[in-house]
Symmetry: C2
Subunit: 338 residues, 2 copies
DNA sequence: GCTTCGATTGACAGCGCTGTCAGAAGATGG
DNA sequence: CCATCTTCTGACAGCGCTGTCAATCGAAGC
C-alpha cells in the first residue's frame, strides 16, 4: 500500500499499463468493461499516479501556479480555497508563487519558474496581473491563465465582479442615507480594481448631483495603516465629511479606529463603509457595511476554466471575461443598531 | 530560452550531464574549476532542472507538504510565508493540503496523497497534528516532518512557543492590573495548545492565590463567533468578570464586540486581552493586549529543519523540540489611552 | 465465409534527471 | 620513476508514466 505503481494495477486488472494510463486519463476508446476492471483495481490498490512521472512523460505537470503579491491574508486564503477546490476536482495541484509586483526582475523570474516547474496554468491576482511586463511574459510563454481582474490579455480568462457598479451601489446607499459630504479613501494606485472603485464612487456622486471635492478624496494603499492616515486627513479638514467610503475593509477598519479615537460615534457622528466583506468587516465594532464579492467562487471558476482549457474540454459559451454578482452587506457602521 | 535541458548545459560546459547533475545538487567531488564552468553555463542558459525529472529519477520530489485545517487566514498566511522562505532558499516547493481534522478517513487520504505526490517532507499545523491516527500514519510512512506544536512523534520535529508560560505572563499582566475576577474563554478542545494556554491561566491564578471559579471559564472554539458567545455568557453571570482573557485574538475580538454592544467602555469597565498578536488584534478598537508568537519564524525553522534532514545536513545540536520566545504586546484594551 | 473498417489494446521508445559503478586524472610516497 | 591512493568524471540503466504506432478483435458488408 505504500508504493503502488501502474504495473501493479495493470497486473491486477489483467491489462497493459497503457490501458491503465488511458483509463486514468479518461481517454476515449476503452471498453466499458475494461474501464471498470481497471478502476476497481486502482481503487483496491489505492493507486495514485505519480505526478513526477506524468509530468516528465507527458507534456503536462498537473500543476497550476498562483501568482500573488501579499494581498490581505483573508483574500489570499479565500482565493486559495477556491482554487484548491477546482484543482482537487481535476487532480491538479496548486503551486504558490508569491512575488513583488514592483520588482522589475519579477517577470523574468516568473518566466524562469514557469519553465522549471512546467506549470500548466497560471492564476494571477491583482496587483500582479496589472503589471504589463509580467502579462506580456505570460502571454509569450503561451500558458493558459486567468486573472482575478476585469482585463486579461488576448489569450487569458478574466473573472471579476463589476467593481465600478459595486462601488456605485455602495455610494448610492450612503447618499441615500442623506449624506452629501462624503470622503473617499482610494485603493492602491497599482491596482486596476482601485481605479474602478473610484470611478464607481465618482459616477454615483455625479449621478446624484454631488460635487466631488478633491479634499474629500485621499490616496490609500489598501492596508489598515493607510486607512488610518486617510481618515485622519479627511477628519482634520475644516469641513470634514459625514461619511467615509473606503475602497476596502482594511482601510475602513483603520478609519473606524481613528474615529473611535476621536470619540466619534459610529454611525451617528460618522458613517464608515468598506468593500470586500472580509472577515474583518464583521469583527470590528460596529460591523462595517460593505460589498461582498464571491472571491472563492471566482477563484474556483478561474481555475476550472484554465483546467478546462488544459484538458481541451469544450469552451463554455460564455465569453472569456465573466462577471460575478456583488452584493451589498448593510451593517451597523451605516445603519446603526436595529 | 524556453526549454533548456541538462544536455545543453553539459554541452556548453564541455562536461557530461552527470557532472552537471552533481553541480546542481551540490554534491562533493567536483573540482572547483569544473563547478564554475558548469555554473556559468547554467546561468547563461538560464537553466532550471525539471522538477518532474528530478522527482522521478531521484527519490526526492522537492516538495514539502503543508497539512492544515482551516486555521485563521492570518495564521495560515504567516505560516505559508515562513515555509515559502525556507523552501525557496533550498529550491523546494510547497504543496498545500487542507484537510478536516475530525474526518476519520483523513489519515488514510493523507497517506495516499503522500504516496502520490511523493512529498519529501511534511509540515503539520494544529489541530491536525493533534490527531493521533494521522500522526501514526505519518510516522509509519517515515516521512520527515515537523509540527507547529509542542509535541511531535519520535521521529518528528516540534517548533512552538511555551504557550503555558505565555498565557501565564498574560494572566499575570491582568492580575497585576488589580483584577481578581477574571473570565477565561478557552480554545478549541481539539487543540493541544488550547489546553496549554488554559494551564497557564490556571497556574497564574493559583500562584496569585486567586480561586478559579468554574463559572468564569467558558468553552470557545478559537473563532470569532465563539468569542461572542463566551463573552455573552460571562457577562450575564450575576457576578461578571472585570477582565476577560480569550485564548486567541479572534475570540477576544468577539468579546470586544459584545462588550461594545453592551455599552461597556474598554478597558475601564472591562479589560479584554487576546493571544497571537494577529493583525486583527491591532485592527479592532481599542487594540488588544495580546501575546506575540513568531509564527513565520517558527514555520521557517520547521521547514528548514525538515529540509536539513532531507539533505542529510548535520543535525543542529539543538533538540528536536525547539521553543521560540513569546512576547507580551501591551495595548489599549488593557492599558487605556496613554 | 471472407474482406473491410472502426474500436480497442499493447509493445516500445523515450521524457530529463539521478544512482551506480567503473574508469581517468591527480596526488602521494618510496 | 612507478605503485598506491584519492579525487574527479562519465557511461549506462532506469525512475513511472505517456505518445506513437502497430496489432488485435469484433461486427458489418458482400
Amino acid at each position: 500500500m505504500s508504493k503502488v505503481i501502474i504495473d501493479d494495477v495493470a497486473a491486477r486488472a489483467g491489462v497493459s499499463i497503457k490501458t491503465v494510463s488511458r483509463v486514468m486519463n479518461n481517454e476515449p476508446n476503452v471498453s466499458e468493461r475494461t474501464r471498470d476492471r481497471v478502476l476497481s483495481a486502482a481503487r483496491e490498490l489505492n493507486y495514485r499516479p505519480s505526478l513526477s512521472a506524468r509530468g516528465l512523460a507527458g507534456s503536462r505537470s498537473y500543476l497550476i501556479g498562483l501568482l500573488y503579491d501579499n494581498p490581505s491574508p483573508a483574500y489570499l486564503a479565500e482565493v486559495q480555497a477556491g482554487l484548491l477546490e477546482a484543482c482537487e476536482a481535476s487532480h491538479y495541484s496548486l503551486a504558490l508563487h508569491p512575488c513583488h509586483h514592483e520588482d522589475p526582475g519579477m517577470p523574468a523570474a516568473v518566466s524562469a519558474a514557469l519553465a522549471q516547474a512546467r506549470l500548466d496554468g497560471l492564476i494571477i491576482t491583482p496587483p500582479v496581473c496589472n503589471v504589463p511586463a509580467l502579462m506580456a511574459a505570460v502571454e509569450e510563454r503561451g500558458v493558459p491563465y486567468a486573472v482575478i481582474s476585469d482585463e486579461a490579455g488576448p489569450s487569458g480568462i478574466a473573472v471579476t465582479i463589476d467593481e465600478s457598479a459595486a462601488m456605485r451601489d455602495l455610494t448610492e446607499h450612503v447618499i441615500g442615507l442623506g449624506h452629501t459630504r462624503i470622503g473617499f479613501i482610494a485603493g492602491h494606485p497599482d491596482h486596476k480594481g482601485a481605479a474602478r472603485r473610484r470611478d464607481g464612487f465618482e459616477t454615483a456622486m455625479k449621478a446624484h448631483g454631488l460635487a466631488i471635492d478633491p479634499a474629500m478624496v485621499v490616496q490609500g494603499y489598501f492596508d489598515f495603516e493607510s486607512g488610518r492616515h486617510g481618515a485622519r486627513d479627511l477628519l482634520s479638514r475644516t469641513n470634514p465629511p459625514s461619511a467615509i467610503i473606503a475602497a476596502n475593509d482594511d482601510m475602513a477598519a483603520g478609519a473606524l479606529q481613528v474615529a473611535h479615537d476621536k470619540g466619534l460615534h459610529i454611525p451617528t457622528d460618522l458613517v464608515i463603509v468598506g468593500f470586500d466583506d472580509s472577515p474583518l468587516s464583521r469583527q470590528v465594532w460596529p460591523p462595517l457595511t460593505t460589498v461582498r464579492q464571491p472571491v472563492a467562487d471566482m477563484a474556483r471558476e478561474a481555475a476550472a476554466r484554465v483546467i478546462a482549457r488544459l484538458t481541451g474540454a469544450a469552451e463554455p459559451d460564455n465569453p472569456a471575461n465573466l462577471a460575478f454578482p456583488h452584493e451589498l452587506r448593510l451593517r451597523q457602521s451605516s445603519l446603526g443598531d436595529t
